[in-house]
């Protein structure tokens, strides 16, 4: 679009929007605002900064106590936890090792198959699989767009 047309569009849309008068606020706005002023929400439904000072101090003290209790508890259970964790890690390492052994055993025939069939054939298979995934994703997107599309008659 050239600058003259851009300017024309700006004038046209700007003029249109600036001419819009205020919308009428729903009648409920006045009522609900006045009600909210007359019956302020209880302190526990307001933000922390709006809580009464005594409640805020009590809450702060409670949080500090909870943090201290958590710290003490951690110190107490730490040695036992460490032993349990190392035992579990050792068990997990054994599982991983056996899994790795199975994978190594399976990799041998795969390597032989690649050598036998040739790299070009394997690359073509990979490309075909990637293409199939892309087609599925594309069809899925089209399906979603079609099912969620609004009828034309709703548009201005």
């Amino acid at each position: 679009m050239n600058p003259a047309m851009e300017k024309e569009l700006e004038m046209e849309i700007g003029g249109t929007l600036q001419e819009l008068p205020d919308l009428a606020a729903p009648p409920a706005l006045l009522t609900r605002t006045m009600n909210a002023l007359e019956q302020p929400a209880p302190w526990h439904k307001r933000s922390w900064t709006a809580w009464p000072l005594s409640v805020r101090i009590a809450f702060f003290a409670f949080v500090l106590a909870a943090a201290a209790a958590a710290l003490v508890e951690w110190r107490l259970v730490e040695p036992a936890l460490r032993t349990a964790a190392s035992r579990r890690l050792a068990a997990a390492a054994t599982d991983v090792k056996s899994f790795w052994n199975v994978l190594s055993a399976l990799a041998g025939p795969v390597v032989q198959a690649v050598e036998h069939l040739g790299k070009v054939f394997m690359l073509a298979c990979l490309a075909a699989a990637a293409g199939a995934c892309a087609v599925c994703a594309g069809l899925g997107t089209i399906l979603v767009r079609l099912t969620r599309a609004r009828p034309k008659s709703n548009q201005l």
Binding site: T16, Q18, D22, L156
Partner: protein, 184 residues
């Protein structure tokens, strides 16, 4: 007059302006009403300063814009994926909009209808285009101010406003060119 009565009169005086500002930015009547209520609750806390101050309208507008932008940024991250995928959820809503009654004459029906169409087309724009467009053309902010307010680059603001204008014209199509004349 008691404080409550004074504040009610103050609220009646500014409610259309505050609601319009929020509504055009968030494009949702329920959210615009929540934001307007919050604006007036904040105004009540400072009613001593605002009552009788000619700058009260400006203060209310600024708070309404800020709260609307906060609201949009709070929910943008949560909903943007789905709204982009489905062309924005609120785009499908048909919101009935009323204009504040004119002071002197009965509004020409054709003009009212065209304004309704413009409002609806505006609400159907994606937020990324609608918000800078409203801030620029309706709220009279400069490109630089909008960029700072939205935390985006100047170039993006200009592009979004240009796309917004083009999209709005596209949605209004011949209605705008054939019938709408500003000041009509």
């Amino acid at each position: 007059m008691t404080d409550a009565k004074q504040f009610e009169a103050f609220l009646r005086n500014y409610q259309n302006m505050v609601f319009s500002t929020a509504m055009r930015l968030v494009a949702s009547p329920a959210d615009a009403q929540d934001i307007s209520q919050e604006v007036f609750l904040r105004a009540f806390e400072r009613f001593g300063e605002l009552a009788g101050d000619p700058r009260a309208g400006g203060w209310l507008k600024t708070v309404a814009i800020n709260l609307s932008l906060n609201h949009l940024s709070r929910y943008r991250a949560r909903w943007s994926f789905f709204s982009e995928l489905f062309h924005r959820d609120e785009a499908g809503q048909e919101t009935e909009l009323d204009y504040a009654a004119p002071d002197d004459v009965v509004e020409d029906l054709a003009v009212a209808e065209r304004r309704r169409l413009v409002e609806q087309a505006l609400h159907r724009l994606p937020a990324a285009q609608r918000v800078p467009l409203v801030l620029f053309h309706i709220e009279g902010m400069k490109y630089e101010e909008i960029a700072a307010k939205l935390g985006v680059s100047l170039g993006k603001v200009k592009t979004d406003i240009f796309r917004g204008r083009a999209a709005l014209r596209g949605k209004l199509g011949p209605r705008l060119q054939d019938h709408w004349r500003p000041g009509a």
